[in-house]
């Protein structure tokens, strides 16, 4: 009798272990499927000119998404120049000073913002910037993306700072270091790998965003580096190509998607490498 029970327990144990394994496998499966699918379908249009040429008109072979790549880089950097400091410092506020009603309100608002569909950010930036400026622009695109980027980074920064033990803060203060310095130079430094990972993951998130750019940066078929003008972006070009009725544009959409996911993948790898503890 005991033997049978033991056998059953062991069998269940093993079965459950496989269930956990299987679920973990199912989680990573889409990444591989997406990537292989893109490699296969995107390979057709994937050549050097894709990365360095402007788009060609329909039916004309060749052409690339170089202006989109540049636009994505510009809009992303633009977004981050103000979003990183604002987000990290808000995270510091929440983790280090944030008690009471105001902090709870900020936390609630940030959590809500994280859940707001990204197209709404686009519409908001459209109303806020595009209408008064009377033109689509990189500024407006960056503004929309900031609203996606900032809440994510605020919360990861707060969470990462909370993993820093109180004893570290106490040790810093006990040395007679002013609080703001202790916070920036010791507490934030301690949590920095985590904060940086959060920044890079949020960055790869906004690189792929399409909806917030539709009514803001709009897209562009030409080179454009002026920030108050409509600007191309890789996801916008993928979108334009994908909804078009033309076969060769579909192929370019696949290739563009491959470029996009490669950028995201590279950033994620960079996040891993940069934040690996040096020993």
């Amino acid at each position: 009798m005991t033997g049978a029970i033991t056998f059953r327990r062991k069998a269940t144990d093993r079965a459950m272990k496989w269930v956990f394994y299987l679920c973990a496998f199912l989680v990573v499966l889409p990444l591989f499927l997406i990537f292989f699918d893109l490699v296969i379908k995107g390979a057709k249009e994937l050549r050097w000119s894709l990365l360095v040429d402007l788009p060609h008109p329909v039916g004309e072979p060749g052409g690339g998404i170089a202006n989109g790549i540049l636009g994505t880089v510009v809009i992303t950097l633009l977004t981050m120049t103000w979003s990183v400091p604002v987000a990290v410092m808000s995270g510091i506020y929440l983790a280090e000073y944030g008690r009471g009603k105001f902090a709870s309100a900020v936390r609630f608002a940030v959590d809500t913002l994280t859940g707001v569909p990204s197209i709404i950010m686009g519409i908001f930036a459209y109303v806020l910037l595009v209408l008064p400026m009377k033109r689509f622009s990189a500024w407006a695109g960056a503004a929309a993306l900031s609203m996606i980027f900032i809440p994510v980074v605020v919360r990861t920064t707060e969470d990462m700072l909370r993993t820093v033990p109180t004893t570290v803060r106490e040790a810093a203060l006990a040395l007679g270091i002013a609080r703001w310095k202790a916070t920036l130079r010791i507490t934030v430094r301690t949590a920095w790998p985590g904060i940086l990972t959060g920044i890079l993951l949020a960055m790869s998130r906004i690189i792929g965003e399409t909806a917030p750019l539709l009514f803001t940066a709009l897209g562009n078929q030409f080179w454009q580096t002026k920030l108050d003008q409509p600007m191309a972006a890789v996801p916008l070009q993928v979108f334009t190509y994908a909804i078009s009725p033309y076969e060769d544009w579909h192929d370019k959409a696949w290739a563009g998607a491959l470029v996009l996911i490669t950028m995201v993948l590279l950033i994620n790898i960079a996040a891993r490498v940069l934040t690996r503890e040096k020993r």
Partner: protein
């Protein structure tokens, strides 16, 4: 002045819970004072009042006066940041800054307290502090290693060096040996004796033997009250209060 600290009727509360009750105590210059007592008697709370570590604890409040060289440490003239430069602290758990090397751990207080010392001065002070903390010989070839890669006992001496680097007058130690093995404990105790020539030291401990070994005077706390304070020789051989005697003979605590 013979007394560094004069504590007058210090009471303190965490919320509604009174932790210290009307403590009166003098701490003499260049001496080692032990604060001993069973867990929860308020000894850590007490010592952390002396460098205002509770300032940021929500719900903490206190009454009474703590005088450092005759000045109330809560008076408007006293900036807690400067107070803590004069009154350093070593904690129960060795807490070197993670992601900082041995050198940086000791140097960081000097670098961040706004004095803008030249690099050579910093190196010199780091070396001197590590020598004083009896750690120099063990780490002089590994200054670039992370502080947390050292052993527990070394980490605690690193924390002592870190505290000494900013040149305080008083060193508060909150159960500095409770997380250490006996060999490391012996080293730290020896160090405390050496340091007492130049510094005023207050040590919290629940270890009576330790209090007897290292201190000039011992204060016995029970339930937030200072039961008695006397020369170390006297308190362990002939205590005035019955409760001290009971504690020493292992009746409770």
């Amino acid at each position: 002045m013979a007394n560094v600290f004069e504590i007058r009727d210090l009471s303190s509360w965490f919320g509604e819970n009174q932790v210290l009750k009307k403590i009166r105590m003098d701490i003499a210059r260049n001496s080692v004072t032990s604060v001993m007592g069973p867990s929860g008697c308020g000894k850590s709370t007490f010592i952390r009042c002396l460098n205002r570590m509770h300032d940021m604890t929500p719900g903490f409040r206190m009454s009474g006066e703590i005088l450092l060289d005759g000045t109330n440490i809560h008076s408007e003239k006293v900036d807690p940041v400067y107070l803590r430069r004069r009154v350093g602290m070593v904690f129960q758990q060795p807490n070197p800054f993670p992601r900082m090397s041995v050198f940086e751990n000791v140097a960081v207080g000097l670098k961040l307290n706004g004095r803008n010392l030249p690099r050579a001065d910093i190196s010199e002070k780091v070396e001197r502090s590590l020598i004083m903390a009896a750690l120099w010989n063990e780490v002089k070839d590994h200054l670039a290693q992370p502080g947390i890669s050292l052993s527990g006992g070394q980490q605690q001496r690193l924390c002592i060096a870190r505290a000494l680097a900013v040149e305080p007058e008083v060193l508060l130690m909150d159960e500095p040996c409770s997380a250490l093995d006996p060999a490391s404990t012996a080293k730290i105790e020896e160090l405390i004796e050496d340091l007492s020539e130049k510094y005023t030291i207050a040590v919290v401990t629940h270890n009576m033997q330790q209090a007897a070994r290292i201190s000039d005077q011992v204060a016995f706390f029970l339930m937030g009250e200072l039961i008695e304070m006397d020369k170390s020789g006297k308190i362990f051989t002939n205590p005035s209060d019955k409760r001290t005697e009971q504690y020493i003979t292992g009746r409770f605590g």
